[in-house]
Symmetry: C2
Subunit: 350 residues, 2 copies
């Protein structure tokens, strides 16, 4: 559908003014041309794909639910589409995998404006194109409930280069990519004033998964354990500690808290360290590295052009401490199911 045609839509048209086939066509038109390895694409009962040789495959699925993971009052539809794919690509990055394809399943209210539908599609199609991922299939259904965007993403990695959470050893050094806290601050800013637009809000709305860092870490075999910060730094540290059977000591002063986030948290009388540690949605990587591989890590940093900051070490005593204080195990996957990410990063609201 060209921009010109889109102008012909009746004002106020919703998804219920279209057939499923028309809606699928509107998505397909926003996708990049099919790659060689796609034998059968959108439109049949299933997609048929030529696998990549000498690689193992990495599968992940994650859903964004309106009211749980995003609030339409300040998350524009293109950001819904972008984030739904980004959270999955971040999981692939954490495994060291290069993303290859995705399937998009959406449950949509009948009154969703068609312009919002198109913008959601543009959101995931744009991010997919940027990372050369092809959307090979999907599903559309009506729902009486909130917008639900469920994406399964598939990547590949050489078998020995796959990263997990479980390989950290006592003495390994912990590094985090980029900066933390920006997404949590951005969310608070948007809740305070939906029209805010700065690096923090952009980070919340359109996170950039650390795919290049992840694949380089895998390829150079630098990381003994890796995880993404989807549920926040504190949760990620707990997960690496639990899966690897180590403890983690974090040095608060070293945490690369985004300047804009630090300023915002301070202005709101919040402790920037606590806010940055417990806020979610940063989609950075937390990486454990053997001390002797420090030089190889520096090479990854240069190649990826992303800072990796030393923030702590793995120790024998179980649990996660920050400047010697034990963090309560009450984040992310440890939280009761109904309190799970009511709005991610919303530290004040709980």
């Amino acid at each position: 559908m060209s921009e010109g045609e889109a102008r012909d839509e009746p004002r106020g048209a919703t998804v219920s003014d279209f057939t499923e086939r028309e809606l699928v066509a509107r998505i397909a038109q926003r996708l990049s041309p099919s790659p060689d390895w796609l034998i059968v694409g959108i439109g049949d009962d299933a997609a048929v794909v030529e696998p990549e040789r000498n690689r193992v495959e990495v599968f992940t699925v994650d859903a964004l639910v309106e009211g749980v993971h995003f609030d339409r009052r300040f998350v524009p539809p293109d950001a819904i589409g972008h984030r739904a794919l980004a959270v999955n690509l971040s999981d692939l990055a954490a495994m060291g995998a290069a993303p290859r394809l995705a399937l998009v399943s959406m449950a949509l209210p009948a009154d969703l404006p068609i312009t919002d539908f198109d913008a959601i599609a543009l959101g995931f199609a744009g991010l997919a194109a940027a990372h050369r991922i092809h959307i090979v299939g999907g599903n559309l259904t009506r729902t009486s409930g909130p917008i639900t965007v469920d994406i399964t993403a598939v990547g590949t990695v050489k078998r020995r280069q796959a990263l997990t959470r479980a390989g950290a050893r006592v003495g390994d050094v912990l590094y985090v990519s980029g900066e933390i806290g920006a997404a949590a601050a951005g969310l608070q800013m948007l809740r305070h004033d939906a029209s805010t637009s700065n690096s923090c809000t952009e980070r919340y709305l359109r996170p950039q998964p650390r795919l290049r860092v992840g694949t380089l870490l895998g390829r150079n075999r630098v990381a003994s354990a890796c995880i993404d910060l989807s549920d926040g730094f504190a949760d990620a540290a707990q997960q690496i500690a639990a899966a690897s059977g180590v403890g983690v000591e974090i040095d608060a002063a070293t945490l690369p808290i985004a300047a804009g986030a630090r300023e915002w948290f301070t202005s709101r009388s919040q402790n920037p360290v606590t806010a940055a540690l417990t806020g979610g949605d940063d989609y950075e990587l937390l990486v454990a590295v053997r001390p002797r591989l420090r030089r190889q890590l520096a090479a990854v940093m240069r190649q990826a052009d992303v800072p990796l900051t030393r923030v702590g070490v793995c120790v024998a005593t179980p649990g996660v401490t920050v400047d010697g204080v034990t963090m309560p195990g009450g984040y992310g996957h440890f939280r009761p199911f109904d309190k799970l990410r009511v709005l991610p990063g919303d530290v004040e609201g709980r």
Copy 2:
């Protein structure tokens, strides 16, 4: 979790009494042991899988949404889990693929009883075990809306054995597997009296995907086109006609309408042929076969032990006719989005 432990749950416990980690563990405990090819399973950022050699991969995703695809008043939770996987396996069967793995993403209301949660898991775990499919990952989230079970299933097939909708030619004969109409009748029966239990209601609640027929058709290269009847026979015939660029002539007298369904429809003053053609959820296969391959088709029937009934032919004139009367193109994917399968197979209710 053993049966004994389950008895210790507090009465009236819901999913919100558990952490996400505990809920994932309850699912994992209901799954078969991990296969050799699963390198990293549930519990990391993503699953890592060794691909199958000399096969192409087949991907499909489908969601079941409460109130759209099922009604909890008469669909027990185990059937929700079973059907959510079955609809996906049926898509793989239609491509001639052997299923291998699946990812299950569920959005659940906080007040869902934990016993219902366990039963949903048992439903998909049981069907997965029956077809030697492994659930390699998934996602759980809260929703303020209806239960939504989204499953991505992956199968494999030899490249030249993959079936599509697009290969039918003029002169090809159309066959349908098993019987049709039973699921639509079963749904009507359940709406009329939720306690009904017979072959039709069982067919609606726990459809058996035609995986053996599909893989045999692909392996023997008997089918020129194949599709499953998820949205009903009429829709499937339209899809094969449109994708293959042929017309389809159906002979109503030959349709293998299930006896119980015929009886029910007649007792409700419905035309059994119309009801069986437009009712969905049969999950049989509609197959186009070159006339000279009739003997090979008979061999597939014997091997799979499932009847394949000749119901029509492919012709040059576009469209689908039943006993010479053109069917309106108003089913399944052609339906406006908001009228899509309000309750599948519910011919009266619209």
